[in-house]
């Protein structure tokens, strides 16, 4: 006999804790469905999800320190130091 469990809907406070699992593809099918059902009816959680995506994007875009020619020279020196040790 099939037991139908009527799961209650997710609330916003639970949504914010599931965002990462959602983005990681770590929710079960049922959880995912409930997550998306909530999103469809909640502009704040939709915005929250968008902010988490933006956070990831901004973190990934941290400015890189430029590599100067001196650094290449330093790497070469490092290599020679190691070679000297090896002898």
């Amino acid at each position: 006999m099939r037991v139908l469990l009527r799961r209650r809907e997710l609330v916003c406070q639970e949504m914010v804790e599931l965002v990462t699992a959602y983005l990681e593809g770590g929710l079960s099918r049922g959880q995912r469905r409930r997550f998306e059902a909530h999103l469809a009816g909640c502009e704040h959680c939709t915005e929250y999800l968008e902010q988490m995506r933006a956070t990831i994007r901004l973190t990934g875009g941290l400015r890189a320190e430029d590599l100067t020619p001196e650094m290449s020279a330093e790497f070469a020196a490092l290599y020679q130091r190691w070679r000297a040790e090896e002898q």
């Binding site: 406070q13 990462t20 770590g26 890189a64 490092l78 070679r83």
Partner: protein
């Protein structure tokens, strides 16, 4: 063979230029990771250099069962960690706690004080207003493990599996740490840029 593996083979064969290429390839990611542990670019640079020396010394022990980058960044994190301990002054944000403060929800768990808007302006303001510095600063305040996971996942763009390998943590742990770290960063961005 991927490009790293090819370069490693050439370094092993004694090619100096291959090493310079290899080091250059990974330099900016390593710098960025190191910078979240130590306060100055100069100290971060030392950490990176130390790491490369450790890599060269340990090259014979590298077995290619993991990717070179995973191996490299695991060494970097260890070095940065021990250097950072000595000069760490920031007060760490607590490790536990919810993604969003519970005071922002009503009794039913619905938003009472919804997220402020900031996504649209953030892209252009990143360069203009030192948002990158703000992210770096928040990153330094994160508990160590959260910071490591966020750096390796979102800055170095390793996969979840590679991060677990580099940091020797479980998948469940990795996800919790990632979640908390990203949530703190989002909160900091909202606090800085948010408008109603």
């Amino acid at each position: 063979m991927d490009e790293d593996a090819e370069l490693v083979a050439r370094v092993r064969a004694g090619e100096e230029q291959a090493f310079v290429t290899l080091a250059t390839r990974h330099h900016s990611t390593m710098q960025r990771i190191a910078r979240t542990y130590v306060a100055s670019a100069a100290v971060a640079e030392e950490v990176v250099q130390d790491t490369w020396l450790a890599v060269l010394r340990g090259l014979d022990g590298f077995k290619e069962r993991s990717s070179f980058q995973t191996w490299l960044l695991a060494i970097l994190v260890n070095r940065a960690r021990s250097t950072g301990v000595h000069e760490h002054r920031s007060v760490a944000i607590g490790d536990a706690g919810p993604a969003v403060d519970s005071s922002r929800f009503d009794e039913s768990g619905a938003w009472m004080s919804p997220p402020l808007h900031w996504v649209e302006e953030s892209d252009s303001r990143l360069l203009a207003e030192g948002l990158a510095d703000r992210i770096q600063a928040t990153m330094r305040e994160l508990p160590e493990r959260q910071r490591e996971v966020v750096m390796l996942r979102d800055v170095a763009e390793l996969s979840a599996r590679e991060v677990c390998e580099a940091l020797e943590i479980s998948e469940a742990n990795q996800r919790v740490l990632l979640h908390r770290g990203r949530s703190h960063l989002r909160q900091a961005l909202e606090a800085d840029l948010g408008r109603i």
